[in-house]
Amino acid sequence: MSALLAGRLLLAEIGDNFPQSGERLGWSDLWAWGIAVVVGAVIALVVVQIRQRNDMEQRCDNPWKLFRELCQVHNLDRASQRLLAQVAKARRLPQPAQIFLTPSALEPADLPAGLRERADQLLRLRGRLF
């Protein structure tokens, strides 16, 4: 063990005393690089996640992804998607995508007050999906 440590120290000192050599680097000098690498990895992960989220060709069993796939098929904007998702949740549909096969689910009458107020929007959506 002591021989190994002695070897490592010798290796660390190998660049000492060269005419143009700077000061010896310590662990604290690598923080900036480390942070950059971590940020890069996080960004890559997020990108991969986003790509996977929107890759409809990938095999999976994800009800909300299917919901988004159907929203894409019908070219629904963000607001409509949000509204449909709220209705699906309010109706407690076991499969959120079921909303695309259930015209009665978009009937405002028996929806919570918040959604009932958006009856016009719901009826427009129903006309668009069915």
């Binding site: 009800p63 796939e69 499969q95 079921q98 096969l101 999906l129």
Partner: protein, 538 residues
């Protein structure tokens, strides 16, 4: 494209497994476009749970909805198998109905497994459907058509047969003879497995297969039996079954077999049959079967290895009570059988009301050497029935003009007369040939023709040719012709004879005079000299 349609299409194609439960939820609608769309979507996905859900609804679907489901049947194999093997009551029957209506032959191995199960009701339903599908498959093969599922029927047959063969091997465990029937008809007459079972007495299936072959009235089983009879080396057990069966469907199938003389295996197999049950009851045969079938039965028995007594018994019954066709067949079958009984039957046929039967009997008379045959045949030559007289002439074919002509010089007068009169009666060409000979350039031939005509007693029929010979260049011919004319009708020959009275040959004049006298005509009258004769004289 409508929005709902777009949704369904997206759900059908989605790689997301959540699409199946979503579509299954759509089935709650019960009817309408969402329901139909959900069915379409589910059957186009590979989802066993979804398919099972659709199958559960099968009995409640409208025909057009069923058509939607059938479009996806090639993806539903797994669900159908599960429904058939483990499905609850309604699901099982729905699957069964679906298989039946879609004609999915791939499910036959599964059906065979169900059929082998101890559950009586399900097992019987599966057996019934297996038989139906096998029949349907054979129908496709017979008509050389491709099934809707788009696969080669021969390949399907191979796969189905394999599963049925395995079932045959398991027969000891399941004891379902109905499956054997499906196997038999699909295996066909050349199946090695079937031949093996038939030839191995101790095979577990042997008894059941023989029982099926003996009792089944299925068209295909009957066809198999007749095909085996027509094929190479029918096994002993098949020959026994054919010998013993007398039920109407089988007899009809057997009597429809064409006895092609070129089919040597059929002839060989028939020759090895010692009896044919349906031929042992002529009364039923005459009453219940068509004229064609009665005749076919006689032909079949005649070609079989049955005893002459059996053949004669049927022939006698048919000659007495059968149809015209069968009487002809009976008569024909006697040809190869000798003896008193056969001779008696030929004479019986000779008295038949139908000319064709008589003609068939006549053709056998000579070689049987029955006393009085010659006289009878000569008598039949004069029959008003064309068929009978031709048959008699055919039987007496040695009395031909050629034969008579070639032997004429060797015969004495008595023999010439005897043969000549027969030839005149039998050979319809005799008159024309004599005329030809009378006009021959050879003097000897002309003179011999006159002698032959005399022996044949044919002068009256040759009056015109004899009158022409009165102008022959040879006076001997002219004299012989003049002499012969006394046998003719006076009105036909008078003028010729009167002209011959002025012939330069005294012999001719004398002969003409003698003939005129014999005919009771006045030799002094010359009113009707023909211009030709006058010209010849000048």
């Amino acid at each position: 494209m409508k929005p709902l349609q777009r949704t369904i299409e997206a759900l059908s194609r989605s790689h997301n497994e959540a699409a199946a439960p979503t579509l299954m939820a759509g089935l709650v609608a019960g009817s309408g476009p969402v329901f139909d769309g959900a069915i379409t979507g589910l059957v186009s996905r590979r989802s066993k749970a979804g398919h099972l859900e659709v199958l559960r609804l099968w009995d409640r679907l409208m025909p057009e909805q069923k058509a939607l489901v059938e479009k996806g049947r090639h993806k539903m194999g797994g669900a159908l198998r599960e429904a058939l093997l483990e499905g609850e009551y309604q699901l099982f029957y729905n699957a069964l109905n679906f298989v039946e209506s879609s004609g999915d032959f791939d499910l036959i191995p599964t059906l065979v497994m169900v059929a082998e199960q101890p559950d009586g009701e399900r097992s019987h339903a599966a057996i019934e459907l297996t038989a139906k599908l096998v029949d349907q498959l054979l129908h496709w093969i017979d008509n050389n058509r491709e099934p809707i599922i788009g696969r080669d029927p021969a390949t399907i047959r191979y796969c189905v047969l394999e599963s049925l063969e395995r079932s045959v091997e398991r027969f000891r465990e399941h004891r379902r003879p109905e499956l054997l029937e499906s196997f038999i008809v699909l295996a066909g007459p050349h199946s090695g497995t079937l031949h093996n079972v038939l030839e191995t007495l101790h095979h577990p299936c042997h008894g059941s297969i023989v029982h099926t072959l003996t009792h089944s009235a299925s068209d295909r089983v009957l066809r198999l039996l007749t095909a085996m009879l027509e094929g190479k080396e029918a096994p002993q057990v098949i020959r026994n079954v054919i010998s013993k069966r007398s039920d109407r469907p089988f007899v009809e199938a057997l009597l429809a077999v064409s006895l092609d003389p070129a089919n040597a295996p059929l002839r060989r197999n028939l020759a090895r049959l010692r009896s044919i049950a349906c031929c042992e009851d002529p009364q039923t045969l005459c009453v219940q079967y068509s004229p064609y079938q009665q005749a076919a039965a006689m032909h079949l028995l005649a070609a079989s290895g049955a005893s002459d007594e059996q053949k004669l018994a049927l022939a006698e019954a048919l000659l007495k009570h059968g149809s015209v066709d069968s009487r002809i067949a009976a008569c024909e079958s006697l040809r190869s059988i000798g003896g008193q009984w056969a001779n008696r039957l030929v004479l019986l046929a000779l008295g038949d009301a139908d000319a064709a039967v008589k003609a068939t009997a006549i053709s056998q008379l000579r070689h049987r050497r029955i006393p009085g045959t010659m006289a009878k045949l000569m008598e039949l030559v004069d029959s008003p029935e064309e068929m009978v007289s031709s048959a008699a002439r055919e039987a007496l074919s040695e009395f031909s003009f050629e034969n008579f002509q070639s032997r004429f010089d060797l015969l004495d007068d008595e023999a010439r007369r005897e043969m000549g009169t027969r030839v005149a009666k039998v050979d319809l060409t005799a008159r024309a040939r004599l005329k030809q000979e009378l006009a021959s350039p050879a003097r000897r031939s002309r003179l011999r023709a006159l002698q032959m005509a005399a022996a044949m007693d044919m002068f009256p029929q040759l009056a015109d040719a004899l009158v022409e010979r009165l102008e022959d260049e040879d006076h001997l011919v002219r004299a012989a012709a003049a002499e012969a004319l006394k046998h003719c009708k006076p009105s036909d020959v008078r003028s010729g004879l009167l002209a011959a009275m002025e012939d330069k040959s005294v012999a001719v004049q004398n002969a003409a005079k003698s003939s005129l006298a014999a005919l009771g005509l006045d030799s002094t009258s010359r009113s009707t000299t023909t211009p030709m004769v006058a010209e010849a004289r000048s």
